[in-house]
C-alpha cells in the first residue's frame, strides 16, 4: 500500500457510459489526484446555487498512479446524489471530490502473496473490480477468485472486463443470480447460501484474504458464514454501503 495524501480535488467529467439499466460509469479527470490503491473510495460533494450541499461516498473502479478516476454509480430510488449523477450529469461538468479514502479495504499487487477471495453483492462489486483489474494488469501470482451476487445478468457491472480476466486465467469468476438467471443456467435464481459460498470460495485452509462488499445484510450474512467455515476473522475485510 502506498501512503497518499487525502484532499479535496476538482474533477472534470470526461466520459459517461450506461453500465446497467440503473447504473452509469463515470470517468473523471482529476489533475491533482495522487493516485489510489485498488479498493479505495472517494466522496462527491454537490453544491446547489443557494449553498445547499449533499455528499456521498463512492468506491473507485480504477487504481494506480494516473489522474483518471473511474466510478460506477447505481441509482438509489428517491436518493439525492445518485439520481443526479446517473441522470443529470453531463460530460465536461465539474465535480468536487474528496479522496482517496480508505487504507483498510485495500489490496495491492505488492502485498503478500496470499490467495484472494472477492465476494460482491450488487454494486458492491466496484472496489473488488478495481482489485481484480490491478491483479490482472500486474500479472500478480496470487490466486484470485470472485463470487458475485447480482439480481439478473443485465445487472452485472463490468461484465465484459470480468469475463476477460476469467478468460485469461487471472480470475476465477462465479455468479449467483438472485432474481433471474441466464438461459440454461444450472441452478434456479436465489440468494447466496452457505453451500454456494463453501463450493465457490477459497477454503480456509489456504489462508485467503477475503474482501466482502455489498449491502449491510449481505455483508453480515457472508462474513458470519466465513467465520463458521473456519476463516480467520482478521483476514475477512468488509465494506458495507448504503443509499443516497
Amino acid at each position: 500500500m502506498t501512503r497518499r495524501p487525502t484532499g479535496w480535488h476538482a474533477a472534470k467529467v470526461t466520459a459517461l457510459h450506461p453500465e446497467t439499466a440503473s447504473a452509469r460509469r463515470i470517468e473523471l479527470e482529476v489533475p491533482t489526484w495522487p493516485g489510489n490503491d485498488p479498493g479505495a473510495h472517494l466522496d462527491i460533494r454537490l453544491t446547489a446555487p443557494d449553498g445547499y450541499q449533499a455528499s456521498r461516498s463512492y468506491s473507485i473502479a480504477s487504481s494506480g498512479e494516473g489522474t483518471r478516476v473511474v466510478l460506477a454509480v447505481d441509482e438509489v430510488p428517491n436518493g439525492e446524489v445518485s439520481p443526479f449523477l446517473v441522470e443529470d450529469l453531463l460530460v465536461d461538468d465539474m465535480l468536487e471530490v474528496h479522496g482517496p479514502l480508505g487504507s483498510y479495504f485495500i489490496w495491492s499487487p505488492d502485498s503478500e502473496e496470499r490467495p484472494v477471495q472477492l465476494i460482491a453483492g450488487g454494486s458492491g462489486v466496484v472496489p473488488l473490480f478495481a482489485m481484480a483489474e490491478a491483479h490482472a494488469l500486474a500479472g500478480d501470482a496470487s490466486g484470485f477468485r470472485m463470487l458475485y451476487s447480482v439480481r439478473t445478468p443485465a445487472d452485472r457491472f463490468f461484465a465484459s472486463d470480468l469475463e476477460g480476466f476469467a478468460a485469461h486465467g487471472s480470475l476465477q469468476l462465479d455468479y449467483v443470480y438472485t432474481r433471474q438467471t441466464p438461459a440454461g443456467w444450472a441452478v434456479p435464481p436465489g440468494r447466496i447460501t452457505r453451500e454456494v459460498l463453501e463450493a465457490a470460495a477459497w477454503p480456509a485452509e489456504v489462508r485467503p484474504i477475503v474482501y466482502v462488499c455489498g449491502p449491510t445484510p449481505f455483508v453480515e450474512t457472508v462474513a458470519g458464514w466465513l467465520t463458521e467455515l473456519g476463516h480467520d476473522p482478521r483476514a475477512v475485510l468488509t465494506e458495507r454501503f448504503g443509499g443516497g
Partner: protein, 88 residues
C-alpha cells in the same frame, strides 16, 4: 441500519488530515480493538456515530456544521495508527 467505518473516512480525513480507516481503535467500554473501518457506523444527516463492533458502545460521534467538523472520541481509549516512513 448501519454501515462501517469506511463510510466515515471522508469526515475523519477532514478531521485528522489523513486517512485513519486502518487505525486500530480500542473500545473504552469493553476494551476490544478494531480497525476504524470495521467499527459499526450509523450515518445520518445529523452526524456519524461510530460504535464498537463487539459491544455497540459509542466510540466516536462526528457532526459537520457550516465550516466545522466536531468530533467526540470519548468512547475510544486509544487509537493506534502507523506513521508515514515508520518501521515495518
Amino acid at each position: 441500519m448501519h454501515l462501517d467505518g469506511n463510510a466515515v473516512a471522508g469526515a475523519l480525513a477532514d478531521a485528522f488530515g489523513r486517512d485513519v480507516t486502518s487505525a486500530e481503535a480500542s473500545c473504552g467500554s469493553c476494551g476490544a480493538r478494531q480497525a476504524v473501518a470495521s467499527a459499526s457506523a450509523y450515518v445520518s444527516a445529523m452526524g456519524w456515530v461510530l460504535r464498537c463492533v463487539h459491544c455497540d458502545a459509542v466510540l466516536a460521534v462526528l457532526i459537520e456544521t457550516e465550516g466545522h467538523v466536531r468530533m467526540s472520541m470519548a468512547g475510544v481509549s486509544s487509537l493506534d495508527m502507523p506513521v508515514a516512513g515508520g518501521g515495518a
